[in-house]
């Protein structure tokens, strides 16, 4: 899957999400989840890191999943101390759980696993605004630089005895830290613009490397993907 074009992978990720979200049968969703795991395996996602990411997302929907069985009316499933859970609610919770995890896992495998510049050029190939692509590329470039700047400020605070507590001093210090990071990032923006001007930048980025033609591998991947989607569509609605 490494050689598959960025545009193809982004389109595939969107298709995957659309079809998965539209599905409601648990057996089909289970099959989709299984294929997402396959995609992750093809993309060689690191196992532990990926599971951590999935779990942290599951944290976001925990409240939803935990409350749904009790707030949905329907056939009695189980109950305790006055609360009754319905089968329908349980099913809905399971549906959301499977959909969210499958969508995310497929996104990680299809899009996030690509090198970052490839994601950007994929988006450009799909007609994304040129300025937006430049913003994305520059942001990715400077995340690590700014993170190190933040880390140094943070270490210096620690060296002066700063311990985060529940008080105004702590919150004010964090506010200043955030404000200072923004100020320093704006200063850096000025310097980067100056550096661009020094290298002849006059308001437009030189366009290089028109997008490569899709290869046979891309078409093979696309056809397999369409077939799988078609299969799911027929299974659910046929």
């Amino acid at each position: 899957m490494k050689g598959v074009d960025g545009r193809v992978r982004i389109i595939a990720a969107v298709l995957f999400a659309v079809v998965t979200t539209a599905c409601s049968r648990l057996d089909i969703l289970t099959a989709i989840m299984f294929s997402a795991v396959l995609l992750a395996w093809f993309a060689r996602l690191p196992v532990v890191e990926t599971i951590k990411k999935l779990l942290s997302m599951d944290g976001f929907i925990l409240i939803l999943i935990a409350t749904l069985p009790f707030t949905t009316t329907g056939t009695h499933w189980f109950g305790f101390s006055g609360f009754t859970a319905s089968v329908e609610g349980g099913q809905l919770a399971m549906e959301i759980f499977l959909t969210a995890n499958a969508c995310m896992l497929s996104f990680l495998a299809l899009v996030a696993a690509m090198p970052h510049p490839a994601i950007a050029s994929g988006l450009r190939g799909l007609g994304c605004s040129k300025n937006l692509i430049q913003i994305l590329l520059l942001t990715i470039r400077y995340i690590e630089t700014l993170r190190l700047e933040y880390q140094r400020l943070r270490t210096a605070m620690q060296a002066r005895g700063f311990q985060p507590r529940n008080n105004l001093h702590t919150w004010r210090s964090y506010g200043y830290l955030a404000g200072m990071l923004i100020v320093r990032s704006l200063d850096r923006a000025d310097r980067v613009l100056a550096a661009m001007k020094c290298r002849g930048f006059r308001g437009s980025f030189p366009t290089v490397a028109e997008d490569a033609k899709l290869t046979k591998a891309d078409y093979v991947f696309l056809w397999w993907f369409f077939l799988a989607v078609l299969f799911v569509v027929v299974w659910q609605w046929g």
Partner: protein, 225 residues
């Protein structure tokens, strides 16, 4: 727990302040920056820490105040072995670290807020923190700079403000990482004057031999591993 028994280097007379025993550290596994390092700082000493780039000089200062955890060895400070993050809260209050880049140390809108940040962390009231801050600014000769914007000061002034932020905490030890880098001669002379008058024991990293000659009592040379 190892009990601290005075200083071997200076004959056990002076009190030992910071002692590293067989300390090793690596940023990347199996590529140690420091290995088996023994180091001791005693009362009233001013030690120059020298060695090639990459020999881990800054790393040592960070280990002393617990900003980095050594892979092996023992860190003792002010008579106690320090291992956990909590152990170092007190150390950071008693051993002030001046960073290489003053810009990284100053994050408040005004000079006075930056300088009283340390005292406030030590639990002082706003009024007492202000008093300490004013005193520290006086020591570095920047009285009247209280309401200036630290971010907009010159490089030399920033360095002095950074020193004041450390001094305001009234540390017993000063750890100075390249305090003269990028300073012009006039500011450097001013800094030497200030440091000479300070009573604190010091560990100084610097490439500037003239600067070191004027200050230090002992030199420790690091050999890269």
């Amino acid at each position: 727990m190892v009990v601290f028994l005075g200083c071997a280097v200076c004959g056990g007379v002076a009190m030992g302040l910071i002692k590293l025993t067989a300390v090793s550290f690596s940023y990347i596994p199996d590529k140690p920056v420091i290995s088996g390092l023994d180091f001791e700082l005693c009362n009233a000493e001013r030690i120059a820490l020298s060695g090639a780039n990459g020999a881990g000089k800054s790393t040592i200062l960070k280990i002393m105040v617990g900003l980095l955890q050594p892979d092996g060895g023992v860190v003792e400070a002010f008579g106690r072995v320090r291992t956990k993050e909590r152990d170092f809260y007190e150390v950071r209050s008693r051993a002030g670290l001046l960073f290489q880049d003053a810009d990284d140390q100053l994050f408040s809108p005004t000079v006075i807020e930056d300088v009283r940040f340390g005292p406030l962390n030590q639990g002082l009231s706003q009024t007492n923190a202000d008093i300490k801050a004013h005193q520290a600014l006086q020591i570095v000769g920047l009285s009247g700079f209280e309401d200036r914007v630290a971010h907009k000061l010159s490089g030399g002034e920033k360095r002095l403000v950074a020193l004041a932020t450390v001094l305001a905490m009234e540390p017993e030890v000063l750890l100075l990482d390249e305090p003269t880098a990028g300073l012009d001669n006039k500011t450097m002379a001013r800094l030497v004057g200030i440091l000479e008058d300070l009573p604190q024991a010091m560990v100084i990293i610097s490439h500037d031999q003239n600067f070191l000659k004027k200050l230090v009592t002992r030199r420790v040379n690091l050999v890269p591993t």
